[in-house]
Symmetry: C2
Subunit: 335 residues, 2 copies
């Protein structure tokens, strides 16, 4: 079976370490594991709750593309494209909307909690309510059968699977492919913010960006949440919920040394400044080659645009092919 | 000011005298009054509540096109096209969905009453709920400022006007044009069914189709609702709610003769068979040239397809132009 993966991000800002750990890392590996790796910059989806602020989306697109290239998403192995450049996705969405009830959309737990979180109250944009259907269009247009995503995307993938079954059954042809969600193992796939919150997020202001300078990383790590009870160096410290150790465990390749530091910290006698300095070093040596690549690509924006146009061309071919098969199955292929 | 009109029909069956009186007649006149007359066969809209029965829509498209041509919608004066051939309409809809709240859609009185009438209960297709937004896309894509329609379409046009204002205001450019609904004078624009129901409708089985043969017309008129108290020829009869007279008043050009018959009928001494025979004659002489033209076009389906393709090409040019202006205003015109 041909393996086709689709992932993407809403371009509403620069990407941070949370994105890296939660999805970019997997996508880079995926390039070697699947037959086709599609990476979508979801600007149309970003508009569903940013309709009044399209500049933010416009400005973020190039940032996200640069982030992709600099972490190692390779245009020779991946198709990187912008969602709004693929008109067929809108038509797929319109077709699927007739196969999904309003009640079903209103039951989607992710959308429900996002509506609460975004404080839409009584003014939920219709485009936001239906965005799971638009995601179904994104996934199915490319016949993606692998959808690596965060846990919160599980209801979206289930909705997509339902739409695929309904479409194929209604139009009596197996045109569409049911995707499989690939979720990170429990506890992984998410890193805490520098303030100790469960999730690193731009809106919480607790993120370390892939584009942060060495100085910014230093400043952020020095302000990082550790163990509030660890006041004096000699006090025993806790590593549970201690963000510095959480990060060291993820980014420090010297596993033995980290284990040793943990033991010492728990016993007492290891200061926060010392472990933070180590983390600063580790993060900066992780980010340095990414920064270097980003600076190179930023000098060559024409190339980045070329990558996106090229990806768009490929994505259009695939999506138009699926749309044609769908129209044939539905019998709305008049001429 | 350039006058652009858009009208259309859902292709869910053949057109009948109700369509003729309610809209086709006005459209034929409109051809001489506006600068651009667009006539759309709304197959995508028909799918919103016929997703499981696309054959019906497919089969109706050619019938509706033949009906148009045979009543005198002239491809040299009108742009006749199929909605699903214009991909930009889907993108416009997706953009507008972000500017309309779910609550606003749920308040639409026409959609509310249709949901009741169609007995959707808890399973309203999402595509059906949002079809007013899709209509806004149809109207605005062509910058139509004249939308002749039935009274029940007033909420749709109001919704379109709201979207136009929101779009232009949000993206700080007067890209879109507010349409004006053109509604028939009170009491006109609707004819009763042959059974006396207020509305002629396919689903009520009380319609005379433009394609009915002379024999079918005869059979239907002979079964027509008149005055149930008018039992004997000599009894005085009522013309109020008497479908035969309603039709004679619309289709019989000999106004004086109709007035005379009315007086005689009310006084007594005029039988139902006599007035029905007159109506049969009147309707058949109205339908004869339409039938003749239809038979001619039906022999030349290639020409009809050519008309639809040609119209689609023109409609695509116009809609793509509007879409480009919209994307420019929104700033999502990356390359």
């Amino acid at each position: 079976m041909v393996k086709i993966a689709l992932t993407g991000d809403r371009p509403t800002g620069k990407l941070h370490l949370g994105h890296y750990v939660g999805s970019l890392k997997q996508r880079i590996n995926l390039q070697h594991e699947v037959d086709r790796n599609l990476v979508m910059i979801a600007d149309m989806q970003a508009l569903t709750d940013n309709a009044k602020n399209p500049e933010k989306i416009r400005n973020s697109i190039m940032n996200v593309a640069l982030d992709y290239l600099s972490v190692g998403i390779d245009p020779n192995m991946s198709t990187i494209f912008i969602q709004s450049q693929i008109p067929a996705l809108n038509e797929l969405t319109m077709i699927y909307l007739n196969l999904v009830t309003v009640a079903r959309l209103e039951r989607n737990p992710t959308v429900k909690s996002e509506i609460k979180q975004k404080k839409f109250d009584q003014s939920v944009p219709a485009g936001f309510l239906i965005y799971p259907v638009s995601e179904a269009a994104d996934i199915t247009a490319f016949k993606a059968n692998y959808v690596p995503a965060g846990d919160d995307q599980e209801p979206m993938i289930e909705q997509t699977r339902e739409i695929v079954r309904t479409f194929n059954h209604t139009y009596r042809k197996d045109v569409l492919v049911e995707p499989k969600g690939i979720f990170p193992p429990k506890g992984q796939g998410r890193i805490p913010g520098i303030d100790g919150s469960a999730k690193m997020s731009k809106s919480l202001g607790n993120a370390i960006y892939l584009t942060d300078s060495a100085d910014e990383v230093q400043r952020k790590v020095m302000s990082m949440y550790t163990d509030p009870k660890h006041v004096h160096i000699d006090d025993p410290g806790s590593i549970e919920g201690n963000v510095v150790f959480t990060y060291l465990n993820i980014f420090d390749s010297d596993v033995e040394q980290v284990a040793k530091l943990e033991t010492q910290y728990q016993k007492g006698g290891l200061g926060d400044v010392k472990i933070k300095k180590r983390l600063i070093e580790v993060l900066n040596s992780f980010l340095d080659p990414i920064r270097q690549k980003r600076a190179d690509y930023a000098k060559n924006i024409d190339y980045v645009e070329h990558v996106l146009q090229d990806g768009g061309k490929k994505a259009n071919e695939l999506a138009n092919k699926t749309l044609k098969e769908m129209r044939d199955a539905m019998g709305i292929n008049y001429f």
